[in-house]
Symmetry: C2
Subunit: 160 residues, 2 copies
DNA sequence: GGCGCTTTGTTGAAATTTGAAAGAGTGGTA
DNA sequence: TACCACTCTTTCAAATTTCAACAAAGCGCC
């Protein structure tokens, strides 16, 4: 009933948020230095490379990247200029468009992946034992599921 | 020796990063809706409120917030305009300046804290059992410590 | 006391991100 | 068919963030 967190949880929360922030900054820095890609660039390339036809609707991409739509528009334009992706009108729905991975984009991803994975390993994963990995997986998969669900619920107009 | 992550760790990594991103966005949204503060505003107020004399040097503040110096300058200017902090020249070192919490800033923090802590609880902490909290604390305190050390080391000019 | 060299923090321009509004289509329904 | 409400994406302006100088002190050393 109290509004506060017990100090145990407070400490956990603070450690989590600070370390995460540092980690994301460090990974972004590494990625940029080694491959010239942004973290968003990389993540987007991964998503496209795994999609059937190596293409995704803008909306789908935005939601997976947790990007505002207009931010994705900008991001795709930038990657298009660099030749990493192409933009195509969507056949089924003429309002929409899809982002398609180019050959150059795939190549860039293939080149960048080992560097990035090494960063992830050295900065994070190598220090975790199996139990810790299992714990993180459980916690964050559950959290992600719940946050996705919350968001879907709040965007549905049936919040009478 | 291979550059990749085993699929267990890869899944863990992906879950962690996506959920974290969603969480940060959600918390920011809640905070803004309930208090008009940004996550950075709030964090900065917390740091000042805990500092001796409720004041901190710009550099110290920047490093704790994981902000670039120029970003902190902008952030402080904005909060100064809103009356939440004041900027004072530093007595010991005339190059420097310090940010000081104002009465209004403290009041704002006191009002915002319960809301924010409730968000943190409902979105994250309430779903974790004690073992999970302990695991997160251990993992992220270790990680934060290591990343801070790495950064200090790389900024030291003795990387012969 | 005067030089170089480093540290602190700010500035200004460019790049990115947000937020509101517009454009173009879809789908249901009268 | 015509209309209305809604969805998908882009556009534009404003706010924020980065990046590359820069000014102003400190600091050691001759």
């Amino acid at each position: 009933m109290t509004e506060s967190l017990d100090s145990e949880r407070m400490a956990s929360w603070r450690a989590y948020i600070e370390a995460s922030q540092r980690l994301f900054i460090q990974l972004e820095e590494d990625l940029r230095a080694e491959t010239g890609l942004t973290f968003a660039d990389y993540h987007l390339l991964v998503l496209l490379s795994e999609a059937p036809g190596q293409r995704l609707r803008m909306g789908e991409l935005a939601s997976r990247l947790v990007f505002l739509p207009s931010r994705l528009t900008y991001q795709i334009s930038s990657m298009q200029r660099r030749g990493l992706v192409a933009r195509q009108p969507c056949p089924e729905d003429r309002r929409g468009s899809e982002a398609v991975l180019t050959a150059a984009g795939l190549l860039t991803l293939r080149e960048a992946a080992p560097h990035h994975l090494r960063s992830v390993r050295t900065h994070l994963m190598d220090d975790l034992d199996d139990a810790e990995v299992a714990c993180l997986t459980r916690v964050f998969e559950r959290l992600g599921r719940r946050l996705r669900a919350d968001r879907d619920a709040s965007s549905t107009p049936d919040n009478k």
